[in-house]
Amino acid sequence: MVATFEPKTDYKVVGTRPIRHDGYDKVTGRAIYGGDMKLPGLIWGVMVRSPHAHATIKSIDTSAAEAMKGVFSVITGADMPKAPSKLVDLGEGNVNFKWASNKLMADTKVLYRGHPVAAVAAVDRYVAEEAARKVVVEYDVLPAITNVVDALKPDAPILLDDLVGDDLGEDVTNTNMAAHVRHEFGDVEGAMASATHTIEREYNMQMVHQGYIEPHNATALWDEEDRIKVWTSTQGSFPARTQIAGILQVDVSRVKVTPLEIGGGFGGKIPVYFEPIAALLSKKSQRPVKMVMERTAVFETTGPTPGARMIVKLGADSNGKLTAATADIWFEAGANPGAFIGPAAQCVYAPYEIPNTRIDGWDVLVNKPKVAPYRAPGSPQVAFAMESAVDELCEQAGWDSLQFRIDNASKEGTRRGDGVLFSKIGMQEVLEATKQTDHWNSPIGDAPEGKVRGRGIANGYWFNIGLKSSANLSVNSDGTVQLTEGSTDIGGSRTSMAMHVAEVLGLDAHDVRPVVGDTESVGFTDVTGGSRTTYATGYACWQAANNLVDVLKQRVAILWDVKAEDVDFKDGVFISNAESAKTISFKELAGKLEDLGGPANSTGAVDLESAGDGFGTHIADVEIDLATGKTDVIRYTAIQDVGTAIHPSYVEGQLQGGSVQGIGWALNEEYFMHEDGRMANSSFLDYRMPTSLDLPPIDTVLVEVPNPLHPYGVRGVGETPICPPIPAIANAINDATGKRLYSTPMNAGSIVESLK
């Protein structure tokens, strides 16, 4: 039985905005990130990377590098343990150790530009770089595949000879197609044939990168006891441990991961890249080895999110009700399988109730970096296709696109495209709130001469996940509480965790001191991803706090010489049921624990099956220079069902951050590939993420429909907001210029082109 909770409103801590516990360290520069790591005897590791996107390795000669003064060890693919083909769930995405190992260090073939072929550890970074240049590799260059259409041609060069693809349950070999899945409900063809209005369009999107500022890094020590200690910036110390142990073929208990502060991840720091390599170099050098990635390698070899080709067809009746939909979705996986077609299928129709639907999804290998989760992986792509098609359908039929979205909104009991039935969800509430916003009710205003303005809206969806989390509490004698939790903190989650505890214990948020534990100081906790952290780890913290209250009631019972059942706890004060006058505050009790049984500790551990779905709608106003095609977003509002906002500033921050990343993806970001599979723009100069000067203030409207699955009604909020911006902007551009764009990025060049 899944526990459910009644909504509450009389919170003391929940819903307030305390200063984050890690704030001082971050603004003073004292926080320790992966790049700050120092250890006695530390040496540097550097990768030798393939200049080709697709080639067989004829030979590798490491002798000159090994002979260099200051070099401690050199490894190649031959040093990688043979990891078995085994799929392990990582919460957001999964990992097959065989492919993961192959991605980190090439075996006989290189599959993407920058694919590591060897690694060198030396006394410092410069010697290591110099030595890496002395590793001689001979290649037989093969034609590179850079898109899904070429990848699936019958005569296409095959990336992985031993890949067995899954085509609707049938094994296929000699293919670049890792999987083909289908979900079908109702009579799609019949409903489409009898629809009054239909539309069918193809949409294409380039790969984009998460663009975190901190590059990947790892420091590893393989010690004399055969224990592997790793310090890294990761979105999950336990999932990192799982991957490292799996790739190195050792027991998980031999690996200790200490998470350091993390400078952004957005999903991209769930996979490991350097950790196992640094460990192998360390084993050979008998010294701790540190590796920090160059920006070019971050672009060329980590992240990105899949590029996509999608065909969406919609049918509606004369009353403006959707009756049928089909979606064909081809996603680029990069060099190994795993392109998030599952989530794409879950998300594509989620904001709508459509009786007859079909989804076909293909997971396709190309000679580009293996994709990594990026904020709602797979959902922004299908949102671009679906929400553009919805708008165009409305335009054709003459319907108001917001009213159409309201009339067709999914609700409790609606069947999602992959078959799941929705429980209590907030899509309708979000759309009604959108209708009430100042933004929606304000005219867009006149554009200056030579420019035009337009407004667009779009929905977005992410299903959110629950999974496993752990937290420990202990009471300090001064009346404060130490919290150790397992979720690495990328968005201020530490403070939200402390607030969960403070709310239960009747304390101030700052009376709870949160620490992110390493894998040997706290119980198993899944990734900081899937919008699960505040929901699931918060739940574990709430549970630990309630368990602590139980522990303390027993201490009060000793003090008062009553039964623990006769002690109540309310607003931070223990009250005797037996003698009503007797009270003792949490703080007072903390000071007396020494004589009342000593340390008071508790723990919380959860494994949550479901999480509560996240829906949002965004409104975008754009202004376009007709001569240059330059698009400025001049007003932007994100409306989202957030359940209960524990710390509203961080919830707003998630909505704003997701919106900004979506705006960047819509307008300028892309992997611009040369034909031979090299990325042309692998720097922040030419990979154009928006800066603060390119953005208007992002207004947020938090619709709070408490999630019955969480004690305070928390719902995951981090991923949904990256889904609506791309179609909202596409719809706004169409509104402004009368021209619809079907591929991203919708940059100045393509706008001018569309106006010709």
């Binding site: 410069y126 300028n668 723009n681 001018v752």
Partner: protein, 289 residues
């Protein structure tokens, strides 16, 4: 990055002798905002880096009846914060104030921008439009080169081994003149020009006729380009939309861009035309005061 010696001479002749000694394995360092990026990217293996910021002559900025002299090491912020330059050389300010952000502008200079010889250098078109001249010292003495002739290709200049730029000399603008520079970038700042256009116009005393004009382009060829025909076409023409449009069209013809990740040939040529029109209008407005 290859290890290099850092040398900080106090005179031009010292600098010249160190540079001459190392040939192409030494380079002058002004603000370092290009040099350090390239050295770290292993574009060169340098043995010596010669910091010019201790040479008084290269750090001087002066403006007088003859014109403006900008030492090769003077950072952009000193240029755009100078009241007299703001008043008399608005086109220079347009360029100097958009190179990078504030941190970059406090190191990066127009001298470094010119010597780096990027086709996209934002400081260069306005210098060309103002008919600026580069002053060079080297083992064989001093010489002067018109700014439009300074770059010979991407990252290549007329400088020989041992030579360095000492200053940029910009003549005093004639009465009833105005200038302007802009670039097209996909973002609003911190970006590299897809196309850039700098113009200088001199009008008659009534502001109704062009006496002369110079138009220079960035990012649409292997070097910044002086669009001579486009500028010359305006001499004697009335100030109206037609003259401006035809000059803009000639500027477009002068552009010889490539297609790359920053833009296509068509887009860049189109942008040259659009920006030339806009900059001519702005320069005219400034000329009329």
């Amino acid at each position: 990055m290859h290890p290099f010696a850092y040398v900080a001479p106090k005179t031009v002749s010292e600098a010249v002798s160190v540079l001459a000694e190392h040939g192409d394995r030494a380079r002058p360092l002004a603000g370092g905002t290009d040099l350090l990026v390239k050295a770290r990217a292993n574009v060169w293996d340098l043995d010596a880096v010669v910091d010019v910021k201790n040479i008084p002559e290269l750090m001087s900025l002066s403006i007088n009846g003859a014109g403006l002299s900008i030492g090769a090491g003077v950072p952009c912020c000193q240029v755009y914060e100078h009241k007299d330059i703001q008043e008399q050389y608005p086109g220079i300010i347009d360029g100097a104030s958009i190179i990078g952000g504030i941190q970059i502008q406090s190191r990066a200079g127009l001298g470094g921008n010119l010597c780096n010889a990027a086709p996209s250098g934002d400081g260069i078109p306005a210098l060309i439009a103002y008919s600026a001249v580069a002053k060079i010292s080297g083992p064989n003495g001093n010489r002067e080169v018109a700014v439009e002739d300074f770059a010979t290709g991407p990252s290549r200049t007329v400088l020989e081994n041992g030579e360095l730029l000492t200053s940029i000399e910009i003549p005093k603008p004639a009465a009833n003149s105005g200038a302007a520079y802009t670039r097209f970038i996909p973002r609003n700042e911190m970006d590299i020009a897809v196309a850039g256009v700098g113009v200088f116009v001199q009008l008659d005393s009534e502001g109704k006729k062009f006496e002369s004009a110079r138009i220079a382009l960035a990012s649409v060829g292997p070097t910044p380009i002086l669009a001579q025909k486009a500028g010359d076409s305006l001499a004697g023409k009335p100030v109206n939309d037609e003259s401006i449009a035809s000059a803009a069209s000639l500027a477009k013809d002068a552009a010889s861009p490539i297609t790359d990740m920053r833009g296509t040939v068509d887009q860049r040529k189109h942008l040259v035309e659009v920006l030339t029109g806009r900059m001519l209008n702005q320069a005219i407005e400034r000329a009329r005061g």
